[in-house]
């Protein structure tokens, strides 16, 4: 759009990360303004999964993690050979959700990301009902091909948006705060975060 920037029109479908089932369709526009600033996004999704089912899955995931008596830790998920131990799958799933928040903030019109690996994860035991994890995740950056190491702190309670704080090695020394409220609510309309594993 002359003088304004580049506008993209997107139509896409989503799928459940765990099962691969179709989870709904979305229509979005993304406007990258001429002068550098975050893009303007408008998005509308019709999600096919039932809210109650999402809540139940969230609760199950939450209970599984709460049931552990010792703080959960893990390294190299997946490992070099692509394996993920079944016990570590929930941690990977949470990392996928949390790192998507990092990617949301870091991506630009010309820079994109994938989660390459969870280098380490450690659970922080809390006195309240929230579960909390400290992650080091490796992001694969396109087209530079760089591997970016990010420190990520996730906090979650079913029914609440996934809280993500991150700090990536390539950035300046500030902690990036992302509350994930706009897209992380398990009870909200765009329920990909924290659910649908």
């Amino acid at each position: 759009i002359p003088e304004a920037g580049h506008k993209y029109y997107l139509q896409f479908s989503t799928e459940d990360y765990r099962t691969g089932e179709n989870a709904g369709n979305c229509l979005a526009t993304v406007l990258y303004p001429k002068k550098k600033s975050p893009p303007v996004v408008s998005i509308k999704c019709s999600l096919s999964k039932d809210q109650k089912e999402i809540q139940e899955e969230d609760d199950r995931l939450y209970q599984r993690i709460r049931h552990q008596t010792k703080p959960i830790t893990g390294n190299n998920i997946p490992d070099s050979y692509g394996n993920i131990a079944p016990a570590l799958e929930p941690l990977w799933a949470l990392a996928v959700a949390g790192s998507s928040s990092i990617m949301w903030e870091k991506s630009t019109e010309t820079l994109g990301y994938f989660l390459a690996q969870v280098k380490s994860v450690k659970q922080w035991m809390r006195k309240d009902d929230f579960i909390e994890f400290d992650y080091t995740v490796l992001l694969h950056e396109i087209p530079t091909q760089e591997i970016i190491s990010c420190h990520m702190r996730l906090t979650w309670l079913p029914g609440h948006p996934l809280q993500v704080k991150h700090f990536c090695a390539s950035e300046s020394q500030e902690v990036q705060e992302g509350s994930g409220a706009e897209s992380g609510s398990a009870a909200g309309p765009s329920a990909e975060k924290g659910a649908n594993f």
Partner: protein
Amino acid sequence: HQVLRVVPESDEELQKVQELQGLEHLQLDFWLAPRGLGFPVDIRVPFRSLQPVKAHLGASGVSYSIMIEDVQALVDEEQMEMLRSSRQLPLTTDSFNYEAYHTLDEIYNFMDMLVAENPNLVSKLEIGRSTENRPLYVLKFSTGGTKRPAVWLDTGIHSREWVTQASGVWFAKKIVDDHANNEGVASILETMDIFLEIVTNPDGFAFTQSTNRLWRKTRSRHAGSICVGVDPNRNWDAAFGEAGASANPCSETYHGPYANSEPEVKSIVDFVKSHGNIKAFVSIHSYSQLLLYPYGYTQTPAPDAEELHAISTKAVAALSSLYGTNYQYGSIITTIYRTSGGSIDWTYNQGIKYSFTFELRDTGRYGFLLPANQILPTAQETWLALKVIMEHARDNMD
């Protein structure tokens, strides 16, 4: 020892089985303990307890089946298998495990075995040495002739893309099998040779195994930087150093101090030039599920873009036909992003019309860390696409 299976169908039967649990002197080992009616109970029974156990069950009419006749035999067999398949070298290319990732030594050993088993078809060429002095091996598949028109395939130029080296190993075996069964590429081998470099970047590959699984580049050191490595797919003499590569030695897309500075690249350049009769050149990468043709360094379409696009359509259709895997295709610059100093841009400009790059599975879920159980399907589907390209090259030689 035998392993017996009982499926109690009544409370009486269940009780009889549970009684066995209390008879400690029998030294029974319940692999599956009694759970309830209809659930199997598996019991490992030492030899001397077999008779009493069978009698106890038989007396009450409880039927059982022998799941394992001889536990020791199975254990012995497994021991042998483990000795053979784990870190010990397999004895033949038939016992090689194509569904697992292998070390550099295992792959080099595989090559030697393949040559030894098929001396009239396969030979191993050393086209150079890497920065760390590892041999750069290319397998030549030929049924004769002198410098026949040839197809070049390379895998593993970026070391972290493990599914590519693993697929390369499978391709090698597939070529040999097709030839032996007079099917598939056997017809291509009648008039063409196939060259396959499985570990195009052995230093990088060794580094992914010993130190950093996500290492991409070579392991060269160049003056003036503490950073190591050059991106071997930005080091070719095609728009070298222009936009689409980095001049920063610490970058993953560092093009190097000058074109062909990397022995891994120079050795292929020298080989291709001296051979002079290569008709198709395919570089294999992962991930993204793409089939790409030149150019990466310019928006100007390659003169043969239409033909290459048509071949790609056919190749991708063949690939998808096996497992439904979705691929996109087009020129590098329009499909992914601008790159300079790339291999197929150079080979295309050398006159090798059928120059293609693949990006294999997946699309980012596992990325470089593709689970080993996807090696076989990936190699199989990719092979179908490669055959389309090879056949087209064979049928369109001038």
